[in-house]
């Protein structure tokens, strides 16, 4: 087990206190089981998500920078981990903009001073995703060693969505060859869940879009996009789609129901956060992982596979 990431700042974000509650629970449960210390960012605020970026990109940069300023300057942490793709993406984007764009630096400096907190300085914090956290802290061998209930016979399609890999320039550590994550064909979740014993199916839509940005404002488009993801996963033989973003996860679950109600297209594949699947393999009980909070019947899938 690597010492790096043994103790990191934890930025759950708004969704993990609402519809993504199970992601928060399972992330904390896995961290506890593995002896990885998560120190929640004190008095955090929303990263700005896609919506504030649409109103004004520099405001989103400011909101994300405040979170980073607390983690780095107030708490003295060197790494912040965000399980939500949206938060992770926005912190990365803020880091990039503050390092490369003088106009963004000016706005953030001005707003931070007026708001009365330290201005975040680019380079003082490393932002990682929950996938980086597990992959680096434990590694595949570490996971194999700690797996007490291998996910044998469970066919998993890994779904990464958009914000984890795009656009490329805000993820300078990716695409660096062996051991690094790929933006074109991400594989960290595949690696982690394969080490936990799952059978990974070849899923061609791992970075396709679920339409999360317009999940309510243009629901028919989102339902069409999600239905394509679900039906393709079933064609690939998957029992479960593993997710690593609360917006993707709830979008997939929401539009699975909507496709059934509005388009008469029923799919049976279940959605589970990768932390829930990993938690099962590590021997954590399903309720502590919040699997009963999922809208698709993930508990039933586990039961059918003899995993609970």
């Amino acid at each position: 087990m690597s010492e790096r990431y043994r103790k990191v700042a934890y930025y759950p974000g708004c969704a993990l206190e609402g519809t993504g509650h199970a992601y928060d629970r399972s992330t904390r449960a896995v961290g506890k089981k593995l002896g990885l210390d998560l120190v929640e960012v004190r008095n955090w605020n929303c990263c700005g998500a896609m919506e504030v970026k649409n109103i004004d990109p520099k405001l989103q940069t400011y909101l994300s920078s405040r979170v980073m300023s607390i983690a780095a300057q107030e708490m003295g942490m060197d790494t912040v981990m965000a399980p939500c793709n949206g938060c992770y993406h926005n912190l990365k984007k803020a880091e990039y903009d503050l390092a490369n764009d003088a106009a963004s630096r000016d706005v953030v400096d001005r707003l931070s001073q007026k708001a009365g907190h330290a201005t975040y300085r680019a380079g003082s914090l490393t932002t990682i995703h929950a996938l980086d956290w597990i992959k680096e802290a434990l590694g595949e061998d570490g996971i194999r060693l700690r797996t007490t209930r291998p996910l044998a016979g469970l066919k998993v399609a890994n779904y990464y969505g958009c914000m984890y890999t795009r656009p490329r320039h805000i993820f300078p550590e990716k695409d660096k060859g062996e051991g690094s994550e790929s933006t074109a064909a991400p594989h960290f979740m595949d690696d982690i869940l394969a080490a936990a014993g799952a059978e990974i199916v070849d899923y061609p839509l791992k970075t396709a879009c679920c339409g999360g940005a317009h999940t309510l404002s243009d629901s028919d488009t989102s339902t069409k996009l999600v239905l394509n993801l679900l039906e393709t996963a079933e064609e690939c033989g998957a029992d479960v789609i593993a997710t690593e973003c609360p917006t993707c996860h709830s979008g997939l679950e929401m539009h699975q129901v909507r496709a059934e109600k509005r388009f008469g297209r029923k799919t049976r594949v279940a959605m589970m956060y990768f932390t829930q699947l990993l938690g099962v393999a590590l021997g954590i009980g399903p309720r502590r992982l919040g699997i009963h909070e999922n809208i698709s019947d993930a508990l039933e899938v586990l039961r059918a596979k003899g995993l609970r």
Partner: protein
């Protein structure tokens, strides 16, 4: 998936005559269809500059029309009329009336960033789509889109308290757009959620809807953001040659 480009000949510009004789030759009927001239006379020469002045549109001038954006586009795959390359082309030429033919779908960009990933010129086409949507609304060509209603509901909550609460967003959005909250699929989702009695989750979400989650000591940030938003809105309107405040 092939790229279906728009036909350059529009159905309404195709003319057939029931009875027409030209220089003693009868050219009636479908065998001799005429195509009406479509010379463009109403260029908006400021259009590229206007889009370039709005957030997201800054790099539109870099485009060399390779079409990687449209080729990779998520929305184009389900609606061939959704064509970022073509809209960037029209904007750079100032063909405003042509762009307005697609004004009601431009806001449907899902921000998946596949275009921005594929673009060899760092145009940031996703940002250009947002700038175009803002431009259409600021100029009064389109009403506030459902997407903008959602963004405003969301952003106002963040600006106000530093955080959002999803239930409040959903209720606020449906109220703004005049839709009933009790959609059949939302009701069905609720039923399925209750199947395994997720008490802890219900408690957390219920508490959030009663006591709004908020960041402590947010007043300073709230004031700073409000001032910045006012400045930005005025700057956007100036860039588009518009007076006064947005309604």
């Amino acid at each position: 998936m092939p790229i279906h480009e728009k036909s350059l000949i529009r159905p309404e510009n195709l003319v057939t005559h029931e009875n027409l004789e030209i220089d003693g030759v009868n050219v009636s009927g479908h065998w001799s269809t005429f195509i009406e001239s479509r010379a463009v006379t109403d260029y908006n020469e400021a259009m590229e500059e206007e889009i370039g002045a709005l957030p997201g549109g800054e790099f539109i001038h870099r485009c060399w029309q390779c079409g990687s954006c449209t080729n990779s586009c998520t929305v184009n795959a389900i609606n061939p009329d959704f064509n970022p390359r073509y809209w960037i082309y029209l904007t750079r030429l100032g063909m405003e009336s042509e762009l307005l033919r697609d004004k009601d779908i431009i806001w449907q960009c899902v921000s998946c960033n596949k275009c921005t990933y594929a673009c060899p010129r760092d145009v940031n086409p996703e940002g250009v789509m947002k700038a175009l949507s803002h431009w259409l609304e600021l100029k009064g060509h389109t009403p506030t889109s459902p997407s903008m209603h959602f963004d405003e509901e969301f952003a106002e909550q963040v600006f106000d308290t530093g955080r959002i609460e999803e239930g409040r967003i959903i209720r606020g959005f449906f109220a703004r757009t005049g839709q009933p909250l009790l959609q059949d699929w939302l009701v069905e989702m609720g039923k399925r959620l209750l199947r395994h009695l997720p008490l802890k989750m219900l408690a957390v979400m219920g508490l959030g809807s009663v006591i709004r989650p908020r960041t402590r000591g947010w007043a300073g940030a709230r004031a700073a953001i409000a001032q910045y938003v006012t400045e930005r809105r005025a700057a956007d309107r100036r860039a588009l040659g518009l007076g006064g405040e947005r309604k």
